[in-house]
């Protein structure tokens, strides 16, 4: 069943027990993103410490895919240098837009490789990227603020 490929156990676990959820202070910048076709939304905050992602906190409503991928995001980027976080972001975007033809690198994406199956469903790619786009936007704003 293709469906199980999409809804990997890892995804459902993150969905039921999201990591890093809730909006926290202090933060440098906040981003609000919405998926206009389904109304899913996320508000995400970033706290930088120099060139390091000190914290990511978020709140939102959405499907299992968007919620789980935001949860995975926090695991992947918090505590990492911004440059490394963006490497992961690029890898995740590439994976998601690869139509199931991109082989994910577990060293880079860790739990994120569970989303490989989602890439085969183009309508869900936006869900998987929602939190990541918010992260990208928030970091850009934070860097705009801190420089």
């Amino acid at each position: 069943m293709q469906l199980q490929q999409m809804y990997q156990e890892i995804i459902l676990d993150h969905y039921k027990n999201p990591h890093g959820r809730g909006l926290r202070d202090p933060f440098d910048a906040e981003s609000f993103q919405v998926n206009p076709t389904c109304g899913d939304e996320v508000t995400l905050r970033v706290k930088l410490d120099g060139a390091t992602v000190a914290d990511v906190s978020y709140e939102g409503q959405g499907c299992s895919i968007s919620q789980a991928s935001t949860s995975v995001l926090t695991d992947l980027v918090v505590g990492k240098p911004v440059a490394e976080a963006f490497t992961k972001l690029d890898a995740f975007v590439e994976l998601m837009q690869g139509r199931g033809k991109v082989e994910p690198d577990e060293d880079v994406l860790e739990d994120g490789i569970a989303f490989a199956g989602v890439a085969k469903y183009p309508a869900r790619v936006k869900c998987a990227l929602l939190g990541w786009m918010a992260f990208k936007d928030a970091v850009a704003r934070a860097e705009g603020v801190t420089t």
């Binding site: 069943m1 293709q2 469906l3 999409m6 809804y7 459902l12 076709t37 389904c38 109304g39 899913d40 939304e41 409503q61 959405g62 499907c63 299992s64 895919i65 469903y121 869900r124 869900c127």
Partner: protein, 430 residues
């Protein structure tokens, strides 16, 4: 609901739709429950368009050669047949690219009235004037009015929706007043299935001298509708939701209104005289059809209307009602389902409700529910269905919608209900 002599022969109908024979997701039978978004097209409609293009195609209203004559006849004959389908005169029907353009046409024409001649005075809007819509509108019948209000300084007001998905008509007299210039509302909600009381709304609008604009996108494809009998001033519907092609919508306007309404899109075929500095415009419907029209699509929609007429619109409505009642009954038996909009009463019936059934499954996001249904070959729509304010009002971020048409049968309903249960099983929700 009047009882037609015999039920719809769904098997015969299905045979006309090639796409229904295909499979999806590794060989699953396609259960297409997304006709509220767009319908499928029968062979007869595709054939009619192709025959026109292979035998008579030419620019209409412009040439003196034989093909031009034939094409013009085909186009105007199509207009007449489609007009008859909704009780109108051919001259009261304007072809647009979709229903959305039709509503924008009226809104922009009203915006243009201020810089037009005195004959357009009744369309002028400004500060102090009000536009009334409802909380259950499709974005197509909401955003153009927001924009018109913003451009003209008029105020936008709206009817609320009750918990069971009906218009809150207790607000009728306080909302629709002497200040109201337009009342724009949907005939049948694309989310709730609710059929609104056109009579009461038209009566009140007339009493205060306001224009009425009916969004008939979800009524004309599914039941017998007669615009002059309803008494509305304008109405729109879309070809692609009623077996016809994409790229064609219909705007109905009462003749005397079309005759004085300023143009919207301008260019070829809608003019009377053109000089470099100024132009005058043709009478309706040409005045509102700038540029090369959707000739072959109009011919195809006329074939669609013929197809529906042979089935009989009362029979179509009855058939969909049967499927709707079966669906509502089935969903009521599944724990954790919340249906948006009117549900069955104690006798197992529901009135003034069409065949769109939207719902949420407790603990499962609509996107996820839709995905599991899709995996079983069941095509439903998930999201806010272009009615975001309505979803906000009902306090759900999104919903799952199953919508029916002439090619659906009780087997589709059964497959759908089984699919909903499978969704719950998959996510361990129940």
């Amino acid at each position: 609901m009047t009882t037609a002599t015999s039920p719809l022969d769904v098997d015969a109908v299905r045979a006309d739709f090639a796409i229904l024979g295909r499979t999806v997701r590794d060989g699953k039978r396609l259960v297409y429950l997304d006709s509220g978004a767009t319908s499928q097209r029968p062979r007869q409609v595709l054939d009619a368009e192709r025959a026109f293009l292979e035998q008579h195609n030419s620019a209409v209203h412009r040439g003196a050669h034989q093909l031009a004559e034939e094409a013009t006849d085909a186009y105007e004959d199509a207009r007449a047949r489609i007009a008859a389908f909704v009780g109108a005169e051919p001259g009261e029907l304007v072809f647009t690219k979709n229903a959305t353009e039709g509503i924008n046409l009226v809104a922009y024409a009203m915006g243009n009235a201020a810089s037009s001649g005195p004959e357009a005075a009744r369309f002028v809007l400004g500060p102090g004037d009000e536009i009334v819509v409802t909380e259950m509108e499709h974005h197509a019948n909401l955003v153009p009015w927001q924009q018109l209000a913003q451009r003209t300084g008029a105020t936008l007001r709206w009817f609320g929706v009750t918990d069971d998905g009906r218009l809150n008509l207790s607000e009728l007299d306080s909302l629709v007043t002497e200040r109201t210039k337009v009342v724009a509302f949907t005939h049948q909600s694309n989310v709730l299935g609710t059929v609104n009381p056109v009579d009461a709304l038209v009566a009140r609008a007339r009493a205060v001298g306001a224009l009425t604009v009916l969004d008939a996108c979800q009524s004309v494809p599914h039941s017998a509708v007669d615009f002059p009998a309803l008494g509305v001033d304008f109405a729109v519907f879309s070809s692609h939701k009623m077996l016809g092609p994409y790229g064609l919508g219909v705007l109905y306007g009462r003749r005397e209104l079309l005759e004085t309404m300023p143009p919207f899109l301008t260019g070829g075929s809608m003019i009377e005289m053109v000089e470099m500095a100024k132009s005058t415009f043709a009478p309706p419907p040409q005045r509102f059809e700038a540029g090369t029209p959707m000739t072959s699509q109009a011919v195809a929609l006329a074939a669609a209307v013929d197809y529906l007429s042979v089935l009989g619109m009362d029979r179509v409505a009855e058939h969909e009602h049967e499927l709707t009642v079966a669906t509502l009954r089935g969903l009521a038996e599944i724990p954790g389902i919340r249906v948006l909009g009117p549900t069955l009463d104690a006798t197992g019936e529901v009135a003034a409700r069409g065949g769109a059934v939207s719902f949420v499954v407790e603990g499962i996001h609509p996107h996820d529910a839709g995905q599991v249904l899709d995996d079983q070959g069941i095509a439903v729509r998930v999201g806010h269905h272009c009615a975001w304010p309505l979803h906000r009002r009902l306090r759900v971020p999104a919903s799952v919608r199953a919508s029916f048409y002439i090619y659906n049968d009780l087997a589709d309903v059964d497959a759908f209900l089984a699919g909903v249960r499978a969704t719950q099983a998959f996510f361990g929700a129940v």
